[in-house]
């Protein structure tokens, strides 16, 4: 049994320590907001946070996540009220939607560290997340918009 903290909830899962975190999230915990893309940490669709840092859960063994705060897209806010979620809806960022959970999780980690990111910061933080639909310009705009919202609230 491995003990995990997922979205502030303690859970125990009966899996091999080498099982990818993504499998545990999706198959054992039913948190299917996190997506499987390439399986080799190239596309970013499976991005979740470990203690606030963005990691590719497809290539992270579950044993490495034990003891950390794991946050998935489901844990970003209880009611879609996270500034990024609001900005995403306002700007209608998604096209097919598959990569978007990963995009939002990477963006959330960026905004935690850099509340007012320049385009260069966005390029650096977001280049690990592929979007085959090419929603990049709207992702960029939505990150700037979310940063404005955070400033407005603070």
């Amino acid at each position: 049994m491995i003990s995990l903290t997922v979205n502030k909830r303690s859970v125990k899962v009966d899996v091999e320590p080498s099982t990818p975190l993504l499998w545990v999230l999706r198959e054992h915990l039913g948190l299917t907001g996190t997506k499987y893309g390439c399986g080799v940490a190239q596309c970013g669709a499976c991005t979740v946070h470990l203690d606030g840092r963005p990691v590719r859960s497809c290539s992270t063994p579950v044993s490495k996540a034990a003891g950390s705060e794991i946050t998935t897209i489901e844990g970003l806010s209880p009611d879609r009220s996270h500034p990024l979620q609001r900005a995403w809806i306002e700007i209608e960022v998604p096209q097919c939607g598959y990569c978007q959970s990963g995009q939002i999780m990477s963006a959330a980690a960026l905004l935690e560290k850099t509340p007012n990111p320049a385009d260069e910061d966005i390029n650096r933080a977001m280049s690990g997340n592929i979007c085959r639909c090419g929603t990049y310009p709207r992702i960029r705009r939505a990150i700037h918009r979310a940063a404005e919202m955070v400033k407005g609230v603070a």
Partner: protein, 122 residues
């Protein structure tokens, strides 16, 4: 290598039923086509595709994605589906921009760095 920071595109699809979706679909097709044009190449060996994932099949990422400026031509004609219309002009636009800048022609896509370099040396 070729970098494309901005692209302008106009479309006339009759009455625009969902203008924001139209805008998104145009941006999407432009960026997807630019990715095809500048990066995506499949090669075969003994009848099998050699590339297997994004580490050997590079696609466009945030740092390379241009700003796409769209213009919907006002029209009262019957609406038609936008489809992937936005992608059609990207190859010629980039190839002609390259010709304007260098006087050299790129005739085979994708315009990979080695092909660009070879064209510049001719």
């Amino acid at each position: 290598m070729i970098r494309v920071p901005e692209i302008w595109i106009a479309a006339n699809v009759g009455v625009p039923i969902m203008p924001r979706n139209l805008d998104a679909q145009l941006q999407s097709a432009v960026i997807h086509s630019l990715s095809n044009l500048l990066k995506e190449r499949i090669t075969f060996k003994n009848g099998a595709v050699q590339q297997s994932n994004f580490y050997d099949y590079q696609v466009i990422r945030m740092s390379e994605a241009p700003e796409v400026h769209t213009h919907i031509v006002p029209s009262s004609r019957n609406p038609v589906g936008i489809g992937d219309l936005g992608g059609i002009g990207v190859g010629p636009a980039v190839a002609n921009a390259f010709f304007s800048a260098t006087g050299r022609r790129l005739r085979q896509s994708p315009f990979l760095p080695e092909r660009v370099l070879a064209a510049l040396k001719t």
